[in-house]
């Protein structure tokens, strides 16, 4: 017996702040949080930073060996729980987190310290290990259920959400904190991404416009940092306690290209899209909005269009599409969760965040882009969020309006 899954809490530490309503309002208004990288000896770059005051969440003593990636995760999880109106979670609840890199600051500091003094800080390993964020969330909330970490590059937190929803649907658990965290804005990580030649060139006139998904003049992705956690619950139990239900987690689809480590493949994405629709019992015409993966790389955006066109066919013009990465950058391991939260808020508010900085849409990406800020969607019933990862794993999440 498959149970329905509700989203009742949203916790964000994002480039647009930590209040879901304000974050969504900023995105709906088309406000970019992308700024110039202003420190370190790095070639000109733009990033999306998340303002964060660790002292609000941790004493100095508690911060020993806790990397920024875990700090952001704990804050987002606490915010999600509070947003759901729950003071203490059931101990059997689960934690499902995604991260691409884990504790990047700890690794950067380890190398810096080693080369400067020949000494490496003793808590480098527990700070860096990718599952630290989920473990810290569990310790803070005293959760004894499954506490799991998914590291699948850009699909990490989308898969984490999908797995949490499945565990609730099948009755393994009743409640989960699920999402992702990424905090890799470190000089040498940035250099490594620059070396790969995937990052956007800083826009000379206005750095905030550097990320231009689906635009003919796009030049690449912009790295961002942050954490996003959703509180997922058994739908009937949430309804019974009178919880505010943002949306229903209707289903998910996961596939692997198995063709190339970094080059996306439409056939693989099609498999994930079809699997997600099948799992949610919806058809393409039911879906009114797609929060696209849309990283703004030359290669990636047309492949995503191709996949959507294959699955939606004649229904494609009815699917409003936007990549909000133009505004918050690419949060990698946290991207799927942040964009899931945005998709859920779009359904809840019946409004669509725009695909900004796309003055000249690429004819090779002929989707119905949300072109203007403040777009209302009074008929919106269901929406999807796409996450396509290095490594070839594709994850598509489907959400439906609460009923």
């Amino acid at each position: 017996m498959k149970r329905r899954v509700a989203i009742t809490g949203i916790g964000l530490v994002s480039p647009h702040g930590d209040a879901p309503d304000a974050v969504f309002a900023a995105l709906l208004g088309g406000r970019s949080a992308i700024t110039r990288w202003g420190e370190g000896e790095v070639a000109p770059a733009v990033v999306a930073r998340a303002a964060f005051d660790a002292a609000r969440w941790f004493s100095r003593l508690q911060l020993a060996g806790v990397d920024r990636v875990s700090q952001l995760a704990v804050a987002a999880a606490e915010l999600a729980r509070a947003d759901a109106g729950i003071s203490t979670l059931d101990q059997a609840s689960g934690v499902y987190m995604g991260t691409g890199m884990g504790g990047a600051a700890a690794m950067e500091e380890a190398y810096r310290s080693q080369y400067a003094s020949g000494r490496v800080p003793p808590l480098t390993i527990p700070a860096f290990m990718p599952n630290a964020a989920a473990a810290h969330i569990a310790m803070r909330a005293k959760l004894h259920g499954p506490v799991l970490t998914y590291s699948i590059a850009c699909a990490s937190s989308a898969v984490a959400l999908a797995e949490a929803a499945k565990a609730i649907a099948c009755g393994e658990i009743d409640c989960a904190l699920a999402g992702g965290s990424e905090a890799l804005l470190q000089p040498n990580v940035l250099r490594a991404w620059q070396a790969m030649q995937t990052l956007a060139a800083p826009a000379s006139d206005d750095a905030a416009r550097s990320c231009r998904p689906f635009s003919a003049d796009r030049t690449g992705l912009v790295l961002g940092e942050g954490a996003a956690v959703l509180l997922l619950e058994n739908y009937d139990a949430a309804a019974a306690r009178g919880a505010r239900i943002y949306a229903e987690f209707a289903g998910s689809g996961v596939s692997c290209d198995a063709t190339h480590l970094t080059k996306p493949d439409a056939a693989g994405q099609v498999r994930a899209l079809r699997a997600a629709l099948r799992a949610s019992g919806l058809s393409p015409a039911d879906i009114g909005y797609c929060n696209a993966h849309g990283t703004a790389t030359r290669i990636g955006d047309p492949v995503e269009y191709d996949a959507l066109a294959q699955v939606w066919g004649e229904a494609l013009p009815g699917l409003a599409v936007s990549s909000t990465k133009a505004l918050h950058g690419h949060l990698l391991g946290a991207a799927g969760a942040l964009e899931a939260a945005i998709t859920v808020l779009a359904l809840h508010r019946r409004a669509l965040p725009p695909n900004m900085h796309c003055d000249r849409p690429d004819p090779a990406c002929n989707v119905a882009l949300v072109r203007e800020p403040g777009c209302a969607a009074p008929q919106l019933q269901a929406a999807i969020s796409n996450s396509f990862a290095f490594g070839g794993t594709n994850a598509v999440l489907v959400f439906r309006r609460a009923s």
Binding site: S59, R60, A64, G65, S117, R119, L123
Partner: protein
């Protein structure tokens, strides 16, 4: 400043624990230090005093015990 007072100041600077509450013979665990935060403290103490704790050292559980070990290791450089 004697070693214990220097250590108290280090602990305060690192973990924001009130110097006045730190007692020389109380277990450091009483102030909330666990094995991980103690490892960080010892790393900082090594840096501060330019010493290396031996791998086979006795467990350091109190400020006075830590100060005695620091003083023992500092002797050669002070001579």
């Amino acid at each position: 400043m004697n070693t214990i007072e220097e250590l108290k100041q280090l602990i305060h600077d690192k973990f924001e624990i009130d110097v006045a509450t730190l007692k020389a013979d109380a277990p450091l665990a009483d102030y909330g230090l666990d094995s991980l935060s103690l490892a960080e403290l010892l790393f900082t103490v090594e840096d501060h005093f330019s010493i290396d704790f031996p791998d086979n050292r006795q467990d350091v559980n109190t400020l006075s015990g830590l100060a005695a070990l620091v003083d023992e290791l500092r002797v050669p450089s002070a001579a």
